[in-house]
Symmetry: D2
Subunit: 312 residues, 4 copies
Amino acid sequence: MEKVKDFRWKKGISVNELVESLGNVGFQSSEMKKAVDVIVKMKKDGAKIFFTYTSNMVTSGLRGFFAQLIELGMVDVVVTTVGGIEEDIMKAEGEKFIIGRFSADDIELYEKGVNRVGNLFIRNESYLKFEDTIGKMLLELYKKKPRWTPSELIHELGKRLDDRNSILYQASKNNVPIFCPGITDGSFGFHLFMLQQKHPDFVIDVVQDFRNILFCTSHDDKKGLVSLGGSISKHHAILACLLNGGLDYAVYLTTAHASSGSMSGATTEEAKSWGKVKDDSDVSTVIGDVTFTFPLIMVKALETLEKDGMLK
Amino acid sequence: MEKVKDFRWKKGISVNELVESLGNVGFQSSEMKKAVDVIVKMKKDGAKIFFTYTSNMVTSGLRGFFAQLIELGMVDVVVTTVGGIEEDIMKAEGEKFIIGRFSADDIELYEKGVNRVGNLFIRNESYLKFEDTIGKMLLELYKKKPRWTPSELIHELGKRLDDRNSILYQASKNNVPIFCPGITDGSFGFHLFMLQQKHPDFVIDVVQDFRNILFCTSHDDKKGLVSLGGSISKHHAILACLLNGGLDYAVYLTTAHASSGSMSGATTEEAKSWGKVKDDSDVSTVIGDVTFTFPLIMVKALETLEKDGMLK
Amino acid sequence: MEKVKDFRWKKGISVNELVESLGNVGFQSSEMKKAVDVIVKMKKDGAKIFFTYTSNMVTSGLRGFFAQLIELGMVDVVVTTVGGIEEDIMKAEGEKFIIGRFSADDIELYEKGVNRVGNLFIRNESYLKFEDTIGKMLLELYKKKPRWTPSELIHELGKRLDDRNSILYQASKNNVPIFCPGITDGSFGFHLFMLQQKHPDFVIDVVQDFRNILFCTSHDDKKGLVSLGGSISKHHAILACLLNGGLDYAVYLTTAHASSGSMSGATTEEAKSWGKVKDDSDVSTVIGDVTFTFPLIMVKALETLEKDGMLK
Amino acid sequence: MEKVKDFRWKKGISVNELVESLGNVGFQSSEMKKAVDVIVKMKKDGAKIFFTYTSNMVTSGLRGFFAQLIELGMVDVVVTTVGGIEEDIMKAEGEKFIIGRFSADDIELYEKGVNRVGNLFIRNESYLKFEDTIGKMLLELYKKKPRWTPSELIHELGKRLDDRNSILYQASKNNVPIFCPGITDGSFGFHLFMLQQKHPDFVIDVVQDFRNILFCTSHDDKKGLVSLGGSISKHHAILACLLNGGLDYAVYLTTAHASSGSMSGATTEEAKSWGKVKDDSDVSTVIGDVTFTFPLIMVKALETLEKDGMLK
């Protein structure tokens, strides 16, 4: 059995060394190291890797890292919420979000046309510019054909962007499908509705996309999941894998706890009862804000995999 | 300004009296009393009341209470996740869920064909029976027409149930629309896909339903929101109201905190920056498991509104 | 096995009926009902009941309820933090605390001489008046003898108060010892220090009080614990019982989670490994703000015990 | 205003670079970077630095890092709980703790003589050996004089250890006082009691130690606080500084939230109302498990301070 070992700083310490040491520190740090091991294991085992996140993480600076992971071949299937599509496009078009304060005066922000997401600020202008962009793109796509699945649509949008830090850009370039089962739940939905008002034959086929996510893996594939946060994106990836025989590897990073029976707080333990995951050495749940847990875990996994030539 | 007052038990104390007292106890109890006041105010003001919840709450015994609220005229629009549709139907068909333990052995449960959601257990048989039911219902509806919005479909399903504790039954009976923007994210999605495999013209029109949720209220309506938990259901209701000029009243009950910028943890404070809610006396965020915060708050609100003849 | 049952409101519902129903609702509500059962069981079994809380709960209106529990014979031993002593005295002397807001402007409050504890406000004057009171009381006690244990001191202070909602008053009247192992950690500590400056032979004997808490129970006693929040008070009660053979019954109410290995978040599960608690039917951990979880649980327990003539 | 910037991994990235980048990622990562800035600022400003932690962190591998911080001159005053004293001694005497599992079977552990703290295991033998050691040390100290303050006692214990990873060893060597206001709340308390049984004139003078913590700083000193977790240790440091005019800098790292008015969850915002901290650029609260938040923050601060020759 592993022992607790005293951590000590040494000058210039790398993330690789830090996370290695944290494995022997205990509490969430050991779980973090276990998450690294599970990710390395799923990659080496050739598992199909599902990756899920919520839109607030795209609001944050994790977005470029997500794009890079696709570029490096660490992700085979993405599931996210529509806000994560919108803001990726906004940023690809040059919009800048601001580091603000959790305790900002919200009435004052409103009067200045600033919207708050935790301690991040998004100006109204950013949305207005997005509306122009997306309206044009959607009309262009409608002209090709009237019936689209969300993943097809997102693939086409990605092809129209030019930003190596864009998740959509990298996904399109690397043929990684992005699923978004709740495609109307954002200002994107409003633009879809506007288009349908003018062109009633325009339709988004979410049922077909459920077929697509089911068929992008199979019972025979090894399957792994790296899920950040909760929501429909986490649940959808679990569901798709479950219908294909269950997950072989799972890493859940979340701030939610299991006490209320929510999907966000559901642990990899609970997942075992669903036949989703099978063995203790193949799962890890880490509690904490993904803006630091995910870079720590994934950087360590990348350093390890890079050494073994497992990255694109 | 209100003072802190010492709470004392008296024999036979009612929920009405307890929550009244808790208003002067402080911390989340005062926020809870404030939530009661906001709900009473939104109802008396004739606001259109949006009500959102996640599927785990339908797994729990809150389901009958949600149905009752619709019956009593406390809810004008419902937004939920698809699991909340599925389990309502399962229960309406007679399935029973079990009170288990958070610390149950998940491998053992799996072997027994039992699925765990927090401390609640659902047997595999319950899902199998649901599959029979839903498959037949969907085929019958397809025969009427090939293109359905989720809310239309759910309305029809509700008409086929006969259980006063069913949310769908009461919603259909009382003409309360239930929106479910992520309709494919459940075993329901699997059945939609199966139907589409056989009948490729079958399509679920989520874009049309976005129009429907937008048009079920207007800029002129007063609008209130009672949101339980987070997820796409909370966000969708906020979005629909925002596009109609913003919420006048909002009560958020959640276990999540604001520290990670997630939708689940987003507070009614933050909502002000989005122009969603306008005044401090009209909003309340209560942190805690909804299985007890919601009955406490809503029972108190019902007792008050009943006295004033405001219930159906 | 218990089934999930749909909760429905009926007009005038009592807390007794509500909590009974919540037992079949699931998630934290079922744990809550289990906590009721454990408390009733420990009382009926004649267990020595340890009760712990932290000072913020005395800031809140739970204080009067705690006093009432002592009056009713529900508590045999109290362990708390020194803030819980100070504020009980302040309130017994007539000070009023204010229900404020979590999001109040703290700089503004400071300038007004108002101190914030969550959403509760305490004015500087309240502390100033306390200083007068306590300084005199301590000098008077010193004149009796120079060496005091915290529990002796607190017992004497309680005898000098006259307020049935005072925890100290009821504890002194009912001969319930109040232990406070961190007696100097508050403005109380400052007054002890002032007295010692003038009278160097004045000493607080905390070691003797450790003997006292050990000797107020024995290996032969059945022992139960109702612990609210975390901190030194929770730990101290567990420790005293552990050294006497371990707890037979334990109810922990807390907002903290187990993920960081803290005492606040330590569950009754973990306690089993320490030999502290022995059986699953005799323990319960409920996650949530005690300002509502505790009244719900304890009112239900009181109603049950009162019916069986188990209250004083 | 700072902008959100996309984070990208580059091979061999150092902790220094990572945390720098995280400052522009948002949510808790930006708060983390702010915490670094506050710590660097307090050190450069020559502030007296108070450092507090709870015993579970000494159970973890952070212990060696805490010792190193004292060695490097980053800490002027320590406040902790008594478990943090005991386990430091146990480890200095060669005891090893084990990395276990949160979901271990607690009954089984108990039968094997293993105690669980989160996912860390401590064997009964470790306690038994500690008892031998501490009993002898205390008797030896009693023979010198009968009246001791906790900080004096701890200083003497530290002189008897020989382990550079020991907090007590480094504190004694570097003349950093360790305060422990709840000195009896652990097995240490039991040994103090045993000694007092034999030698009734033996007394621990906690009041004198309150004087000591007050006098180890002054109104004229700049004062900074780095507080990990909550409990009496956090509160005691804040109190001592408050009585000396308030803190100039404060960093709180915790997993608790402000919603229940607890000390663990109290933020640096709330502290402003108490006159404890004065300006926004001088405070930071980071939510997350300290086993990773603290190494990230403090390593970055050390790298910066080392470059400027500010470390011992």
